[in-house]
């Protein structure tokens, strides 16, 4: 098995050992005490949030120690530096997702805020009672709740594109649930539970043909595979920095310029205005219009450093390596003979996310027992209660990978799971 692993490493062409040294937290040993040296951390909770390389951490320290001030508004030296770095970061994001213009890249605080911004600003201005918003059954709560709230405010109807039992969209049903009443389709690029990579181009084509706008929840795709908003032709795209090596507290909303221009501002405050009188205000130009108040300056700059790091590894290498880990994880789980049920399609059809249930062990117990072996996985509904309901389970365990994970870690995961099962099989 060790041999198989190492030959597989060669296949992916990328050796995570070459970069793990960049990630201080990956050197952690858990549960050490007294003579017990503890166990190495095996971090497999990357769909929840990723860890950061030294380079990203250092970028934050550098800004705070050398270049920090408030952006845009000052004309002193530090303010110019902060502004330059902040706008450079925007340019890095623009290139990373291939947006046409920098004005289309809005710094928010995360995917959740980005989607809420669209639901409140675009939604309240464009959606009326009787209109429909179409979501899939596999959406994260972040791409469900804002639309339920919109429905409460406007009386619009939320419809759902169904999924198959193995967690793929029922594309044949799309023409039936899409209609001229559909104002927006909200769809995740990659499911954070199933790992399913959705056929965005086809969805967007059909949605546009029906006259609907499309918002892509790209929280789980931008970190792992190349994104080109121009060739996708999506209207909005949202993602989070912390899921792609970036700092805590920054996210992105991409929107087509024409749409963003038309939309009323969302949050009100400094920067987003051109003029304020005692009886009203005029919004500022893009992107400031949607960046009210002091933006997440340093997290945004750190996100730029994260993008530099990812570019250096290469998204193709990242994707290939994650597929390798996913395949291996499927094999390891099946070999346990513990009534494993995978949520989601085959490894070939998904991203590096492996959610599963075991016949006799609850997901929380799996996570707790794996933790004892240093393996961090997540258990619960992963912010997708309707999806879990659809799949008739209340919770699942999830191992999710990033490029710094190794095949050895997948083996550790499998071994630890075997040990856990033995505890429950004592009789």
């Amino acid at each position: 098995m060790a041999l198989a692993s190492s030959s597989l490493t060669t296949v992916s062409g990328f050796d995570p050992e070459s970069i793990r040294g960049d990630f201080p937290i990956l050197q952690t040993r858990l549960h050490a005490s007294g003579d017990n040296p503890g166990v190495p951390l095996v971090y497999l909770d990357n769909a929840a949030t990723t860890q950061r390389p030294r380079q990203v951490i250092q970028s934050l320290v550098d800004v705070y120690e050398k270049h920090y001030a408030n952006v845009h508004r000052g004309i002193h030296w530090l303010s110019d530096q902060s502004t330059d770095l902040y706008e450079e970061a925007r340019e890095k994001v623009r290139t990373f997702i291939n947006a046409r213009e920098r004005e289309e890249v809005i710094f928010t605080h995360g995917t959740t805020e980005s989607i809420n911004c669209v639901a409140r600003s675009w939604g309240d201005a464009n959606v009326r009672a009787g209109d429909e918003v179409l979501l899939s059954e596999m959406e994260h709560h972040a791409n469900l709740v804002p639309w339920y709230q919109l429905a409460e405010r406007t009386g619009c109807k939320v419809r759902h594109l169904p999924i198959t039992d193995d967690g793929r969209l029922v594309m044949d049903a799309l023409p039936q649930v899409l209609s001229e009443r559909t104002r927006l389709v909200g769809i995740t690029a990659v499911s954070n539970v199933l790992g399913t990579i959705n056929p965005l181009p086809e969805i967007i084509r059909q949605a546009h043909a029906a006259g609907a706008k499309v918002l892509v929840d790209a929280a789980q795709s931008v970190p792992h595979m190349a994104t080109d908003v121009q060739s996708l032709d999506c209207d909005f795209l949202a993602f989070s920095g912390h899921k792609m090596l970036g700092p805590s507290g920054v996210g992105i909303l991409y929107g087509k310029r024409a749409l963003l221009e038309e939309m009323p501002p969302f949050l009100g405050g400094g920067s987003m205005i051109r003029r304020v009188r005692l009886d009203g205000f005029e919004p500022a130009d893009l992107p400031a219009k949607f960046e009210a108040g002091t933006p997440p300056i340093v997290p945004a700059i750190g996100l730029g450093a994260a993008i530099d790091y990812i570019n250096q590894i290469g998204l193709d290498a990242i994707h290939a390596h994650e597929l390798l880990l996913t395949r291996r994880a499927h094999d390891v789980l099946e070999a346990l003979d513990a009534g494993v049920r995978f949520l989601g399609p085959k490894p070939e059809e998904k991203a590096g996310i492996v959610s599963f249930t075991l016949k006799n062990v609850h997901a929380h117990d799996v996570a707790q027992l794996l933790d004892r072996a240093g393996v961090a996985v997540r258990a619960g509904h992963h912010c997708t209660m309707p999806l879990h309901k659809r799949l008739s389970c209340t919770s699942s365990s999830r191992a999710s990978f990033y490029f710094y994970n190794t095949l050895g870690e997948v083996e550790t995961f499998g071994r630890a799971l075997g040990d856990a099962l033995r505890i429950f099989k004592r009789k």
Binding site: H31, D365, H381, T394
Partner: protein, 156 residues
């Protein structure tokens, strides 16, 4: 910093696994006067408790639970119904969150304490929840809301 870790070996000790795999009174109470069900939506744990309360004797004659969830939530429910069978309502009301954690025995991180306290919360609500059938059931004093239970849970 409070990074003391619960001892997980302790968590999955015989005593607890016994309750999980061979629970006390899992099922329906033959003569139910009071019942309540709740879940912990974060993890999907569900617990239902059914009681046979003898109001005259101020006593829990019989107690059953049912549910679905992790080892902690189910084992703790089993321990709890075993513990309160035969107890007075006064005793149940005075059985606080920390008593429940002590009954469970193994140390728990705050996250897992929620699992352990689910059945306790359900019980505290159940004694104020006469079932429709049990028409003979008397009111048992002012009902305590879940929010109150919550606050005591944190406050104590």
């Amino acid at each position: 910093m409070p990074f003391d870790r619960a001892d997980e070996d302790e968590l999955y000790q015989e005593h607890i696994l016994d309750h999980y795999e061979d629970p006390f009174h899992r099922g329906s109470c033959p003569h139910t006067t009071h019942a309540h069900e709740d879940d912990n939506p974060l993890c999907g744990d569900v617990v239902r408790i059914e009681l046979d309360v003898d109001a005259a004797a101020d006593k829990i004659q019989d107690a059953y639970f049912n549910g679905d969830g992790c080892c902690i939530s189910q084992a703790s429910a089993s321990m709890l119904v075993e513990h309160v069978t035969g107890k007075s309502l006064e005793e149940v009301r005075n059985f606080k969150a920390e008593d429940m954690l002590a009954l469970f025995g193994a140390k728990l991180t705050p996250n897992r304490q929620k699992c352990c306290l689910l059945s306790w919360r359900v019980l505290q609500q159940a004694i104020y929840s006469p079932t429709a059938q049990a028409t003979t059931a008397e009111p048992l004093g002012p009902p305590r809301t879940l929010e109150q239970a919550d606050r005591e849970d944190h406050g104590s």
